[in-house]
């Protein structure tokens, strides 16, 4: 699977542009970094949204497990039971990829198993609890591509460390994309990185090369 050179017209005055050809091998983990509004989530939307395939930004469009950065839009009004029913339903594509046992394992690791047993409406969950549920769902979908858009915004360090372990496991069976504003999230799990700048893919490099990227290291320090 590759990211291909492309131009995506956002409006009359704005375009998302890539001039690079980037190889995304199986079992890879790609971190997408860049400032607020640089186009990180939009790049990944070009991969996951079937309506946008005609842009030709990617060489293949495989089924994606996707954790959105806005969890409440997905979950409001539902209970965990109703969501799991949908994920397990084989009539839907997600049902063909979802592994309930794997979900239970991750729920235990991220300590939401007891919370799920109570089957409270997700409107009553804290953002962190909702994010952990979303992560367990995305990680338990054995899809060829797994997209985690800002997966740690509401997680404390202990849960972030558990998530890093889970991502390593997921990576063995899927191409993982992680978008994060936190340098640690990117360098803890990724084997290569993409940096977005002003709606352009500005750089693509391996994790070993991060040491030489002083402009990036200084950008991420307070």
């Amino acid at each position: 699977m590759k990211i291909l050179p492309f131009i995506y017209k956002i409006s009359d005055t704005k375009e998302l542009i890539n001039a690079l050809e980037i190889d995304l091998s199986a079992s890879s983990c790609t971190a997408i970094m860049g400032s607020v509004g640089s186009g990180k989530s939009l790049l990944i939307k070009l991969l996951s949204d079937s309506h946008l395939r005609e842009v030709g930004a990617f060489s293949e469009y495989l089924f994606c497990a996707y954790l959105s950065q806005d969890l409440t839009r997905l979950f409001t009004g539902n209970t965990p039971e109703s969501i799991l029913e949908l994920y397990k339903d084989k009539r839907y594509t997600v049902g063909q990829y979802f592994d309930p046992m794997l979900f239970d394992q991750y729920a235990k690791k991220l300590e939401i198993d007891q919370l799920l047993d109570k089957n409270r409406r997700l409107a009553h969950y804290s953002e962190g609890e909702r994010q952990r549920l979303g992560l367990c769902l995305a990680a338990a979908v054995k899809a060829p591509v797994t997209i985690l858009d800002e997966p740690t915004t509401a997680l404390n360090m202990a849960y972030r460390q558990i998530l890093f372990e889970i991502i390593k496991e997921v990576q063995e069976r899927s191409r993982v994309f992680i978008i994060s504003h936190r340098l640690l999230d990117c360098i803890a799990v990724a084997d290569h990185l993409i940096r977005m700048e002003d709606l352009n893919i500005a750089e693509h490099f391996s994790i070993e090369q991060i040491i030489e990227k002083e402009h990036i290291l200084s950008y991420y320090s307070f």
């Binding site: 962190g128 800002e150 509401a154 504003h181 994790i207 040491i211």
Partner: protein
Amino acid sequence: MIIRNAHLSHFTSPLGVNLEIKSGESILLLGNSGCGKTSLLKAIAGFSDLQAGEIEAGDKRVAMLLQNPFHQIIMQLVHDELYFPLKNAGKSKEESESEVTKIASLLHIEHLLDRDISTLSFGETQLVMIAATCLTEADIYLMDEPTSHLDPPKIMIFYSCMKEMAKRGKSICITSQSPDEYCFNDTVWIMDDGVIKGRFSANECPEVFERYHIVLDSTLVNMRLKEIAQ
């Protein structure tokens, strides 16, 4: 504002201490996911009731930035969203224009003013709603994870804006998952399972974090970079 003998809803133990939010003080509230940070802010804002205790606010007015900024958008365009609290407060067009320009400049969002909010990224929306919150005529700003979708330079811009608000005598209470932000605040409250475990000055934090096993992102980043270099 004083929070006295408070016990948050859905938690088994009371907060444990009486809390005071002083004028011009910037407080960082740290704690694990589900420990009650948002519940405490919502109780202070009056969005939820306490199980016990009371909040003495006097004539202090409170504004709250919700954790998910999309939940408090009212208007379609950024500049309309920013004008809304000013118009509501009965300010003149000239006065409103001047205040919008000032806050947009403080938060570096001038280039977003004419945009439709639905076209903004999560981080941009967060900055716009921070600006809208600061434009309310409140004395206390409750900011629920305002930096969760911001990159480090934007986090610094946010805190320089908060510093300006504190100079104007506003009290600020911020929740965050990032203990690294302690250095931008006067006081840090550490919370666990609905209980305030301790209140510390920013100077005390390095020692306190060690005691509470709170690890900074920057420490782990340095460790990981060394690992990669080897």
